[in-house]
Subunit: 196 residues, 2 copies
Amino acid sequence: MARKPGSRADITGPRLREAALRLFARHGYAAVSMRQIAREVGVQAGALYQYIDDKQSLLFELMRSHMEELLDAWAASAPAPQAALDRLEQFARFHIRFHAARADAVFVSYMELRNLEPMHFEAIEALRRRYETELEAILRDGQAEGSMSLPDTKLAAMALIAMLTGVNTWFREGGRLSREKVEDIYIDMVRKAVGA
Amino acid sequence: MARKPGSRADITGPRLREAALRLFARHGYAAVSMRQIAREVGVQAGALYQYIDDKQSLLFELMRSHMEELLDAWAASAPAPQAALDRLEQFARFHIRFHAARADAVFVSYMELRNLEPMHFEAIEALRRRYETELEAILRDGQAEGSMSLPDTKLAAMALIAMLTGVNTWFREGGRLSREKVEDIYIDMVRKAVGA
DNA sequence: GTCTATACCACGATAGAC
DNA sequence: GTCTATCGTGGTATAGAC
């Protein structure tokens, strides 16, 4: 198992991103060194700078692509026009499912906000707000339809997202409950919480 | 404004803890250096080691004391035996209030879990579970009384705590809504979510 | 494209003077 | 109790050979 010289740009790039995401999630951005990442990838630290400008840009790119995948995925599963309560259920299922499948990216995108430079922070925040607005629109429609009863749609949107995202702190595939069952339980609480 | 030599053990200790908590919350444990903390306290880095064994113990002590204050404060506001729904409301108000008043400690105690050594991590986790169990007991009683209708009390406890703790990510004293108003809105959603 | 080697700096922690 | 000085380590990032 000697070292492997030569060109492998096509695989080193993705591997760098995967390793960085996993290590950042596990130990935190500030606690992970470029040398550690390089070791996981199987190259020397210096070689990483062929793929990134610096450590900060690496973090930002990981978070930005996560948020954009989230928005794209939600847009792709976009509900046909239908009752707000059905759209709410769709949103909740989508949220739990998408987030459960990317625990590392979710964790990093939430925990490392404070390690972003101001401009990068603003860019990520804008994407996060766009997602929040998607849920808020559903709640506002439900309110208008009369199918929901909410004291404050903005707070409700934040409260529900916090609740749904919380699943990630404890859910593990293969535990006491299947993901579908967890979804069912949360949807029951979500529907009740909005006064359905 | 020259430097101030001499003995000030009584104030340096608390100041160290305050500065560390604020800096850890703002930048993260791994990103904050002992020198930075010392600068805030107004002493040299070496002087800090009169008060702590090492950086890791400092983090652990901050988290441990936060969790114990949380449990003590809840025990002190312990409800007289009463209807589960009233106890739930009391818990929710207590939770929002206590957490809003200590945003830094809450943030650190949640975000820096991964930077604890295994034994320290286990100790903090045990305290966190004790708190969770307090809410779970209320929900179980509500279920038994018939005043609540929950598919899974354990999940419900985690979901509600995630929702309530989420207030901290956006709530700022002096914003659009007073803390009391926020409490009212959340309690409305909490009561509905448990099927009251 | 990746390597080795290294510049340069900051880290946590300690020793010993005051 | 705090200071200055320092040890040993490891950080990010770059230079230049292959």
